[in-house]
């Protein structure tokens, strides 16, 4: 086992958890580092493949574009995000990548399929609060209105000028943005700048 203290999230140097949090803010930002993420590729038209993945992972492969299957609370198991007609992102709590990869390896031998651990490739930035959709709209061309982007839905698009996977996890609303780690600091700085007007500055 590797010493976990050696692990550094892409935003570790910013010491985000030591910063004061404004309780009056209508948008909040948070990094959720180290989340287990595995890209799965395969032919969803083949029922045996779908069934095998479902029995191995515990939740069905989403076939509807931009939809998500799995538990509402990530601690209850693995989620699967639709990324493309033959591409999914399996998401699980921190530290599950090895076990998941082993499970998948056993399952996938029978199929033309691929599972690739990408836990290190992206970090997750949570953006929540009553003004979250409006703040994100400054750099996101998706329609984030509840009529078009329901809770539990996902989509790949951009935030500012970086690629992002959006997953709406709460009605409040709360969005999780999966951001490539090399862009994480740029996106964080951009979000801080864009959400400034929703975070009242303390007088004095």
């Amino acid at each position: 086992m590797v010493d976990p203290y050696l692990r550094q999230s892409p935003l570790a140097h910013m010491h985000l958890n030591t910063r004061p949090v404004s309780t009056d803010a209508t948008v909040w930002l948070r990094e959720e580092p180290f989340r287990t993420q595995i890209v799965l590729r395969g032919n969803a038209d083949k029922k045996p493949f779908r069934d095998s993945v479902e029995s191995a992972v515990g939740c069905a492969l989403p076939r509807e574009p931009n939809s998500v299957t799995g538990p509402t609370d990530l601690n209850d198991g693995t989620r699967i995000l639709w990324l493309g007609p033959d591409e999914w992102l399996l998401v699980a709590p921190v530290g599950n990548e090895q076990q998941l990869m082993e499970t998948l390896a056993d399952t996938l031998t029978k199929f033309h399929a691929a599972a690739v651990d990408v836990s290190e490739s992206r970090t997750v930035l949570s953006v929540g609060g009553p003004s979250a959709s409006e703040a994100l709209a400054k750099g996101c061309s998706l329609d984030l209105h509840p009529r078009s982007f329901a809770t539990g839905q996902c989509a790949q698009s951009e935030i500012a000028r970086a690629h992002a996977i959006y997953h709406k996890v709460g009605e409040d609303p709360v969005f999780e943005l999966y951001i490539h780690r090399s862009y994480a600091e740029y996106v964080w700085m951009w979000l801080e700048d864009a959400t400034g007007e929703y975070v009242p500055v303390a007088e004095g």
Binding site: F34, R41, H112, C140, S182, E197
Partner: protein, 1005 residues
């Protein structure tokens, strides 16, 4: 100064809030709710600017976006903004404005001398006058620009923040007048998501400017109730102070919201949020309720301060409680000016007469005006105006039946105000932006919205309806249809159409160019006030053959000012049509292009400024490099350490040190940025065979191979090392800058051409942090850091992969080299990148480990003659040109680009080929990009045979080295070439591309 033109009561201004401001250094007072224009008018300031070409004094002409004259510079220093329309600048306390185009001042203007020479400043003046000699143009331009320029650019960084926001809606309503409000209310009540934008501070549009009654009450009451109702709807967004700038394909519109422009710069900076926001709206349906702009009449000396649009004067009286003058002559060809005349009359302005071009106008408004005792002179025209800084009198004469002559009993009226009305132009600009076709309505001479491919409809006076009741009704209809198109049916009843009294209007009479007392060529009958284009200029353009509307525009600059000819275009077209004996549509209409009114560069940039100007990609070790004092080089979006200067070191010093340390001890490079693609599937090797020039079928597990990738045109596209990770499983590396491109390229082939290949590609570029150690001690250092990898030369040969644990972290170690030294690339999961880097630095200290950047990497690889795709190649270079035929398989039947290598042009022997260059003087470093010649002449042009692609001083060799692409270079080995530079010529000898360790002994040691 007192507000001597301010009425005692009335207007939508707040008389309890007195505001101070300055214009051209003089102090004035106004009220909250004023625009800069209305406040200046209240203070009796008549001259607000000078005209563009003749520098004639100009005053307020309009009251809104159409204003051609009152162009001002707002504020100073970093806050300054040029070319704002005073009619759209909201007054705030402490506002500071100045006139543009009036150096040294409004009262005494040296440019006015141009007026005396106006006979030599006709249309096309620039084109005709300064043709020769060409070298003098720069001088001419300098002088002309100083005299003619509009406004000054800020010279300091903008202190404010700007914002952009995407928005989506079912119905976007542009314009919040009666039609727009009705449309928004109707669509909103049906449940549609609605955005209502209006350029003014308040919603209401023309209702704020007139004295209409709706449902028996002042129209403003109805507006207030409608706005309150809209505000209460959850999915309706109201955007006041927001103008639609552009309307683009697929119902995409840009809106500029001026959030805090109405605040003093100091107050603005205390207000959270951006100064301006550029909205990028994708609307399922659009309702254009943009209103109409009054059309002026073209008559002699129609530009004197005090001549203004009738509707504008009406706005000043009704909305701002200001008297535009004391005694007015109204000059019209239609009924609407009578309403203005009566409002001014009621406001205490003496109406000397209404001069009506029509014989016996019979509309209800005419009758009503007569009833108020207003003199109506029908069948007559204003043929001249007098006055210098302000109109003092007009001359009125009877008009002939054909409208071409105005002679007979002249009457002179003293006045300080001339209200003009030539009818109304629907504001079809946005409709036209989006490719909508306009149709012409001859009675009112209006271009109306016709057909459009987009889900868009016009409502209100933008669609040609002038009467208020019509506007309300078709606003409601537009809202209903737009909502229904999205599936929103009205729930319950539609909002009732409010009652209002409309009066029947009489027909108009079009006299496009009102005759004067002299021939037109001797008159100044302005068509475009801002650009000083006269009717005579239009005639001249016609005479000289510039008949098409686009030529007319460019030749005369009609409609090309900052106002985009909002009051000028139709009159210009009509005069051209008359001159050519055609009808107006026969001449055409100009295609309006975005923006409707200007958009600041700040809003277009939004948040993409300063540190956020461009996305930055950082490696896990980025902040270590920063702390170590590295300077960075941009490679794609990445920041890569360039070199690490120590105290007092120049760049060359640092690079020399890094180069020597790597060759003599050990260097370490952050190589994280290379692209990495995971390739899996039974056809993985087949894919590699098809996209690389060399053969891949026999690569053993754990072995690496260098590959060259071509475009289908046979030109080198990328290179990199690919490793076999397991059965049907490969890891491909790409150059840093091409990572996304190569991934996209492979996907394209797989998805579009070879869907039968069973291969999955996944990018793992971001997964791995890569630390390359190179140099004589690299093996010893690696051995020290790992227990489970045998690092011996035989056990871990060049071009192979070993997995294990390095410094306690699971790692893949590749023995590959871009420096020519023994080198290992240690790959660890990126969150461990910094930990691994620290471990390497700590353990390497005793070997004198030296971090090196891209510059040293470039020098070291150039010493070895290794190419960099994109530096030594440029998309026109084949493997053969690089002397790399050895990597092109002769056995494979096909691969991408193979066929092109035998094309006639690619097979030429005199192509540019990569060679080394050694300068005669070993300390001379050639500039990259330097042009190469075989024969030097005294002066250019010389026959250029190539250029330098890479050039460095090599500390290891103690001399300069360069790579170059030279025509037929492979046959020039040992020959001399020359690089002519500024003031001298450098002689160099063509050499092989490998300068150091040609046998590769160090690499395999």
């Amino acid at each position: 100064m007192t507000q001597r033109q301010r009425l005692a009561k009335g207007g939508r201004i707040d008389r309890t809030r007195l505001l101070s401001f300055t214009f051209d250094g003089r102090s004035y007072k106004g009220y909250a709710g004023d625009t800069l224009a209305s406040a200046l008018m209240a203070n009796g300031v008549s001259v607000l600017g000078r005209s563009f070409k003749y520098h004639r004094p100009r005053g307020l002409f309009g009251a809104g976006a159409e204003e051609p004259n009152a162009i001002v510079q707002l504020e100073e220093g970093p806050d300054t903004i040029p070319n704002l329309r005073a009619t759209q600048v909201e007054l705030y306390d402490g506002l500071m404005a100045s006139s543009v185009n009036a150096w040294p001042g409004l009262d005494w203007d040296i440019g006015e001398i141009n007026s005396l020479f106006s006979r030599v400043l006709p249309a096309g003046f620039y084109y005709k006058t300064f043709m020769w000699p060409a070298s003098f143009w720069m001088k001419y331009e300098e002088v002309i620009r100083r005299a003619a320029g509009l406004g000054r650019c800020p010279e300091h960084p903008d202190p404010d923040t700007y914002d952009k926001m995407h928005a989506h809606c079912d119905v976007l309503v542009v314009g919040g007048g009666p039609a727009g409000l009705m449309a928004a209310l109707t669509a909103g009540k049906a449940g549609a998501r609605v955005i209502l934008a209006d350029e003014q501070t308040e919603f209401g549009g023309a209702l704020l400017d007139r004295r209409n009654a709706i449902d028996g009450k002042p129209a403003a009451d109805w507006v207030a109730a409608a706005v309150a109702e809209l505000e209460a709807m959850e999915d309706v967004r109201l955007l006041p102070r927001t103008h639609a700038a552009g309307y683009y394909e697929h119902n995409f519109l840009t809106l500029l919201e001026r959030k805090t422009d109405h605040l003093h710069p100091v107050a603005r900076r205390r207000t959270p949020g951006p100064r301006q926001r550029l909205w990028k709206v994708r609307a399922a349906q659009v309702v254009l309720a943009t209103g109409a702009i009054e059309r002026p009449l073209v008559f002699a000396d129609n530009d004197r301060p005090g001549v203004m649009l009738a509707s504008a004067a009406q706005t000043y009286v009704n909305r701002y409680g200001v008297k535009p003058g004391s005694r007015a002559v109204v000059f019209t060809n239609n009924d609407s000016a009578y309403a203005a005349a009566m409002d001014l009359h009621d406001g205490g302005v003496d109406i000397a007469a209404v001069v009506d071009l029509r014989e016996n106008p019979g509309g209800a408004l005419v009758t009503e005006a007569r009833g108020k005792g207003i003199t109506v002179l029908d069948g007559r025209a204003v043929v001249a105006t007098e006055g210098r800084k302000r109109v003092q009198a007009v001359d009125v004469a009877p008009l002939s039946a054909d409208g071409r002559v105005a002679e007979g009993a002249h009457r002179r009226f003293e006045c300080d105000l001339v209200l003009v009305s030539g009818g109304w132009n629907p504001a079809v600009h946005l409709f036209s932006h989006a490719g909508g076709k306009l149709s012409f309505e001859p009675d009112r001479a209006q271009f109306l919205p016709g057909t459009t491919p987009l889900p868009c409809r016009a409502a209100g006076s933008a669609s040609g309806d002038i009467q208020l009741a019509q506007c309300l009704a078709n606003g409601q209809k537009a809202g209903e249809v737009a909502a229904a198109a999205n599936g929103f049916r009205r729930r319950g009843r539609l909002p009732g159409i409010p009652q209002c009294d409309d009066v029947a209007e009489g027909p108009m009479r079009h006299v496009w160019q009102v005759p004067g007392r002299k021939p037109a060529a001797q008159l100044k009958q302005f068509v475009d006030l801002q650009h000083d284009v006269t009717a005579a200029d239009v005639h001249l353009a016609a005479r000289e053959g510039y008949e098409s509307v686009e030529h007319l525009k460019r030749y005369t600059t009609l409609g090309m000012g900052t106002d985009q000819g909002k009051t000028a275009n139709i009159n210009g077209l009509a005069i051209m049509a008359e001159t050519l004996g055609r009808d107006i549509p026969g001449v055409g209409t100009t295609t309006f292009r975005p923006p409707y009114t200007p958009v600041t560069l700040g809003a277009m940039a939004g948040r993409d400024v300063g540190a956020l100007a461009d996305p930055v990609r950082r490696t896990p070790m980025h902040h270590w490099h920063e702390t170590a004092g590295a300077l960075f080089e941009d490679v794609g979006q990445w920041k890569r350490p360039w070199y690490y200067p120590k105290q007092g070191e120049s760049m060359q010093d640092a690079v020399d040190r890094e180069c020597l340390a790597t060759r003599n001890a050990i260097g370490v490079l952050d190589a994280t940025t290379l692209g990495k693609i995971d390739i899996q599937g039974p056809d993985a090797a087949e894919l590699l065979n098809r996209v690389y020039t060399n053969a891949w079928s026999k690569l053993a597990v754990g072995r690496c191979r260098y590959g060259l990738m071509l475009g289908e045109d046979g030109m080198v596209m990328d290179d990199g090392v690919t490793t076999c990770l397991g059965e049907n499983h490969y890891l491909m590396t790409t150059t840093t800058g091409n990572a996304a491109r190569v991934m996209g390229w492979l996907e394209e082939w797989l998805q579009t051409e070879w869907p039968d290949l069973k291969v999955y590609l996944n990018s793992v570029s971001e997964y791995w942090a890569t630390i390359a150690i190179a140099g004589p001690f690299a093996r010893e250092l690696l051995a020290e850091l790992t227990d489970d990898i045998d690092v011996a030369n035989e056990a871990f040969p060049f071009m192979s992969l070993r997995s294990g644990t390095v410094a306690g972290i699971p790692a893949r170690v590749f023995r590959i080299s871009f420096t020519g030294e023994v080198s290992f690339e240690i790959n660890v999961p990126s969150t461990y990148g910094l930990a691994m880097w620290n471990a390497v630095m700590m353990a390497g200290e005793k070997y004198g480990i030296t971090p090196f950047g891209t510059e040293t990497m470039h020098v070291l690889r150039a010493e070895k003659g290794y190419i960099i795709v994109g530096q030594d190649t440029d998309g026109t270079i084949t493997p053969g040109d690089l002397g790399m035929d050895w990597i092109v398989s002769k056995k494979k039947p096909d691969f991408i680009g193979k066929r092109s290598l035998s094309r006639q042009d690619t097979a030429r022997s005199d192509r540019k080929q990569l060679v080394g260059l050694l300068t005669e003087n070993p300390s001379e470093v050639l500039p990259e990009g330097g042009q190469i010649v075989a024969i030097v002449k005294d002066s250019p042009p010389m026959d250029m045979i190539g250029h330098v692609t890479s050039s460095y001083y090599s500390a290891n060799l103690g001399r300069s080295i360069a790579l170059a692409l030279v025509k037929g270079g492979h046959d020039r080995l040992g020959k001399s070439v020359y690089v002519p530079l500024e003031g001298r010529t450098v002689k160099a000898k063509v050499s092989k591309t490998v300068f150091f360790d040609p046998e590769g002994e160090r690499l395999n040691g």
